[in-house]
């Protein structure tokens, strides 16, 4: 299909920017070979663009602006050099920060799980103590009587979201509704020393 002049003039502009396919370039060349008006258009566009781009046609920013940019660049470069004198240090710092965040998250999550586990173990110890009618001495030196241990165990299990019946073979109690005994507030196995079981 023969190209019209309107299309050809668009293609002349697109060719300058390398946005014309090779088949369109061939079509344009064929049109230009036959069309003096489009050849004249192409030459004038090129001449006008080159005249507009001539150094005399474009003013320059003042020396003060250039000096301000240089100053800012220098300050930024110095700032970087103070914190990261060796380029690799910047990446090392990023890597260290990433490792710190990942490890911190893992440790926090593990300690949470450990805490839950510790509470369950404590509850079992208390329940066994209750079954055997033992007295268990807490770290504060207070002697917990066997009867009270069952209530403590029930409390702790309810606090951890376990049904008393399904976790331990002890009688359910309504101790969960009562305020938590002081001995359990630390919620740690260290609060009860097994070696001191009587």
């Amino acid at each position: 299909m023969k190209m019209n002049c309107e299309k050809s003039q668009q293609y002349i502009l697109l060719r300058q920017t390398g946005e014309l396919s090779s088949s369109d370039i061939r079509g344009l060349d064929r049109h230009l070979a036959d069309c003096a008006a489009c050849r004249e258009y192409r030459d004038s566009v090129e001449a006008m663009m080159s005249a507009a781009a001539s150094p005399r046609a474009v003013p320059e920013p003042g020396a003060a602006v250039m000096a301000a940019i240089r100053r800012a660049a220098s300050i930024e470069a110095d700032h970087k050099m103070i914190f990261f004198p060796v380029p690799a240090m910047q990446w090392a710092a990023y890597a260290a920060a990433a490792v710190f965040i990942v490890c911190g998250t893992l440790i926090w999550s593990y300690s949470n799980r450990l805490d839950n586990h510790t509470s369950q173990v404590t509850a079992i110890v208390l329940a066994v103590g209750a079954e055997e009618n033992l007295d268990i001495i807490s770290q504060s030196g207070k002697v917990e009587k066997g009867q009270e241990l069952q209530a403590l165990a029930s409390h702790l299990l309810l606090m951890e979201g376990f049904g008393v019946d399904e976790s331990l073979d002890i009688e359910p109690s309504d101790a969960g509704d009562e305020p938590l005994p002081t001995a359990l507030q630390s919620r740690s196995i260290d609060a009860f020393d097994l070696q001191k079981c009587v």
């Binding site: 502009l13 920017t17 781009a53 001539s54 474009v58 320059e60 920013p61 470069a77």
Partner: protein, 192 residues
């Protein structure tokens, strides 16, 4: 200093100040040409020019690849748009401001003054003066194409229009320049 734009930016990131200076020098003219046509004021163009390079210095990591000059002009447009939005519309063009004249009558038009016409003997200056009279969208396309050497695809993306619209704006700009330049246009064609 030799090297691609990316290499120069990389060297500056590694503390080489001269690399950034080389980049500024390389794009000083195209960027400033676009700015001066965007703002029509030397002082404002200089302020934006400085702001653009400060952003480049601070946000150099944002430049990944592609046309560095295009990136500069994108930043420049954003700075210009921010400044225009911040500026309060504090005057009406039709309101009388002094001696019974409206602002439209007071603000100098884009036509070169007679003294400038005499001074503008250089063909480049004549084209530059004629470019100032183009509508902003067409002027921007012309400047981005001529000075920043951006493709029509890049210009279209920046102006948020289709490539055909960008192309049409360039064609309108060239047509108007042809009319404005008149005899000079013929001289251009004759290679003078």
């Amino acid at each position: 200093m030799e090297g691609s734009d990316r290499q120069l930016l990389y060297r500056y990131r590694r503390g080489n100040l001269e690399a950034l200076e080389a980049l500024v020098e390389r794009y000083k003219r195209p960027l400033f040409a676009v700015l001066i046509n965007m703002t029509q004021r030397q002082h404002e163009a200089e302020e934006i020019f400085q702001e653009v390079w400060l952003r480049v210095i601070r946000k150099q990591a944002n430049y990944k690849h592609g046309n560095f000059c295009g990136w500069l002009i994108r930043i420049a447009r954003n700075v210009f748009i921010d400044r225009t939005r911040r500026r309060k519309p504090d005057a009406s063009l039709d309101a009388e401001c002094a001696e019974g004249l409206t602002l439209v009558q007071v603000i100098p038009d884009n036509e070169p003054a007679p003294a400038d016409r005499i001074a503008a003997r250089d063909l480049g200056l004549k084209v530059a003066e004629a470019v100032k009279t183009l509508p902003p969208d067409q002027r921007e396309v012309f400047m981005m194409r001529v000075h920043a050497d951006l493709s029509f695809r890049e210009i279209a993306r920046m102006q948020k229009v289709s490539i055909n619209t960008a192309l049409a704006r360039m064609q309108y700009a060239l047509g108007k320049l042809r009319t404005i330049l008149g005899e000079e246009y013929k001289a251009l064609n004759n290679g003078n």
